[in-house]
């Protein structure tokens, strides 16, 4: 390394991105380009950062594969910050292998962490969990450890393991404090705050009650038969019937749960499930068919008895029935609730689940997107919708770990 590169890297490591930039602003040799790219990324100039890092990577010589691998990692992190998830994950995996081969553990870990974060953003949660489990977190820098714990917390929350998420966030907070990076600390605080916000409502005949994620998790773990209008399904304990793609059946289940322990009239069920106010004999016949289908699906959990005027839900083993609704009303709330499973949904699947038209769903999604409450990946027909991540992954601050460039 030469003197200005060293001085610039020293400034960058101390958090002085402008100072780092000033020292190498006019230089176009690969180490200078890399430093300029990293400084630009820290200043939020992502497209420029990416271009500089790409040029730096191309400029390093055949014997400088370590420096080139570090550029690939930095570029991947910038792509993540730009939410550009379209590229192939292969260069990053290759860079991680190169870094391992050169015993650059910190940057190899960083590369693998970026790969795991990318999978979370893509909604490929099983793969992300597996990737995270393979990470050997020993000796991680505090900043990297904090991010690893944030990702773990996110994955835990997606599967409603709230205790695990809390434990991860506590570790993330401790690590963020050790790292001394304020933005990272703020991110952990934000993630912790979401745990205390109402996540759903419990609706009964008597009224409704806001529930935190923890209360939701407790409810789902209880003996009660939960009809879940957030995830569109019903179950108790680990038993679960998904009705997200059976909107009519779910509407019936929801209406029955709302009336429990009472029953619901046929007319009301028809109005609810088929959205019509003028029922005729064909609707009554169809109701019988649909109730029959629902009965078959839930037979291990509950019976659906016919009464003189309609139907009543009777859970087995004397369980209680609880209706869980999204934290607020409306199509948007239902969309956000559906997306909260962290999976990537297509517009048509969401429309199907909500029993609404694709046009309606698209409109609602567009509004939510401008509010930053949902995000999209892919284009046109392959476009998928996801809930925003808890940890916003705004921490480009990790990049100093990608130093030194040589």
């Amino acid at each position: 390394m030469d003197s200005l590169i060293t001085a610039s890297a020293r400034a960058l490591a101390a958090g002085d991105a402008l100072g780092a930039l000033k020292r190498v602003a006019l230089r176009d040799d690969p180490p200078a380009l890399a430093l300029r790219g990293i400084a630009m990324a820290q200043l939020g100039e992502h497209p420029r950062a990416r271009e500089l890092l790409r040029r730096a990577g191309r400029g390093f010589g055949a014997r400088e594969e370590l420096a080139r691998a570090r550029c690939v990692v930095a570029e991947a992190e910038v792509a993540l910050a730009m939410r550009d998830l379209g590229g192939s994950p292969r260069p990053l995996a290759a860079a991680a292998a190169t870094l391992d081969a050169h015993a650059d553990r910190a940057n190899a870990l960083q590369a693998r962490l970026i790969a795991a974060r990318r999978l979370v953003l893509l909604g490929r949660l099983d793969e992300a969990t597996a990737a995270l489990a393979q990470l050997d977190a020993r000796g991680l820098s505090p900043a990297l450890a904090a991010v690893a714990e944030l990702v773990a917390a996110e994955l835990a929350l997606r599967s409603l393991r709230v205790d695990t998420a809390r434990a991860s966030l506590a570790q993330a907070r401790a690590a963020a404090e050790r790292s001394g990076v304020p933005a990272l600390q703020a991110e952990v605080a934000r993630a912790l705050a979401t745990l205390d916000q109402p996540a759903a409502r419990r609706q009964t005949q008597g009224g409704e009650q806001a529930l935190t994620l923890e209360a939701v998790a407790a409810l789902l773990a209880s003996q009660a038969l939960v009809v879940d209008a957030c995830r569109h399904g019903l179950g108790h304990g680990s038993a679960w019937v998904a009705l997200a793609r059976r909107p009519v059946l779910f509407a019936l289940a929801r209406a029955l749960a709302q009336a429990w322990p009472g029953g619901v009239d046929r007319e009301a069920l028809i109005a609810d499930a088929f959205r019509t106010r003028r029922p005729d004999e064909t609707h009554r016949a169809r109701l019988r068919v649909e109730i029959g289908r629902l009965r078959a699906l839930v037979k291990t959990m509950a019976r659906i008895e016919a009464t003189g005027r309609g139907f009543v839900l009777q859970p087995l083993d004397g369980r209680e029935v609880v209706l869980l609704a999204p934290p607020f009303d409306g199509d948007q709330a239902s969309l956000v609730a559906l997306l909260s499973d962290g999976a990537a949904w297509s517009t048509s699947a969401l429309a199907l689940a909500l029993g609404a038209s694709q046009r309606t769903v698209q409109r609602a999604l567009a509004e939510l997107e401008t509010e930053g409450r949902v995000r999209a990946i892919g284009q046109a027909r392959s476009r998928r919708w996801l809930a925003p991540t808890l940890a916003g992954f705004t921490t480009i601050l990790l990049l100093p770990a990608a130093l030194p460039i040589e």
């Binding site: 390394m1 030469d2 003197s3 200005l4 590169i5 060293t6 040799d29 010589g61």
Partner: protein
């Protein structure tokens, strides 16, 4: 200036593994080693925010100067010279005071510094050059081209040696000061970089170890 027509007589380059005699550091609170020099008794190393001196026998740090050092360090018998950013500072080792400053010839792409025969010799890292400059003005007296990245320069017994470091490969080599032809090469183990080079005047070289934060003593081969 260099003679224009001098074509070097082709001499076989002898290459052998570098014999590392001893390692010093990493030093308390210090970062990467950017430059080394030797004042006859102590070894000086610039370690980012400081320049420190240690006793090569005990390995103990005996002195630290609060002075930034981003690349080569040199000693002229009285004063220290230190490359910081794009300048070379002349420093009183007793007080740490900066007595004089000249611009570095590479404008900040400098790496490696030594003093010999009334001149400073400055390596220009990726440009693979060594400049001989006037220590009072910084004017370039002549330039030697190398075929590798230059990361340290030293003169001993009329021999010009320089350190190279490119990616994973690093060596210490003796070159013909007239032509730049490589005469002799000591290959460092893979992954061991050389950042800063200085002879102790007899049979050892001291090499800065870059990110490792170490200074290594390497045996200088006996003249054949």
């Amino acid at each position: 200036m260099n003679s224009k027509t001098a074509t070097p007589p082709r001499r076989a380059t002898t290459a052998r593994p570098a014999e590392i005699v001893r390692e010093y550091g990493p030093f308390d609170g210090a970062g990467r080693v950017n430059g080394v020099t030797h004042d006859g008794q102590r070894v000086w190393a610039s370690v980012g925010a400081q320049i420190l001196a240690f006793d090569p026998t005990s390995g103990e740090t005996t002195r630290t100067l609060e002075h930034a050092g981003d690349a080569g360090t040199a000693f002229d018998g009285t004063h220290l010279y230190q490359i910081a950013e794009a300048r070379i500072d002349k420093i009183d080792p007793a007080t740490g005071q900066v007595l004089h400053t000249i611009p570095a010839p590479g404008g900040g792409s400098d790496s490696g510094l030594t003093w010999a025969e009334g001149s400073l010799w400055v390596g220009q890292y990726r440009d693979r050059k060594i400049h001989q400059i006037d220590p009072s003005t910084g004017a370039i007296r002549r330039t030697i081209e190398s075929d590798s990245f230059v990361t340290g320069v030293t003169w001993v017994d009329g021999e010009l040696w320089h350190g190279t470091w490119e990616g994973e490969a690093s060596d210490i080599r003796r070159i013909d000061p007239a032509s730049g032809a490589v005469l002799e090469r000591l290959d460092m183990p893979p992954g061991t970089g050389v950042s800063g080079l200085e002879s102790d005047g007899t049979d050892l070289f001291y090499c800065g170890g870059g990110e490792s934060g170490k200074v290594r003593a390497v045996r200088r081969p006996k003249a054949a």
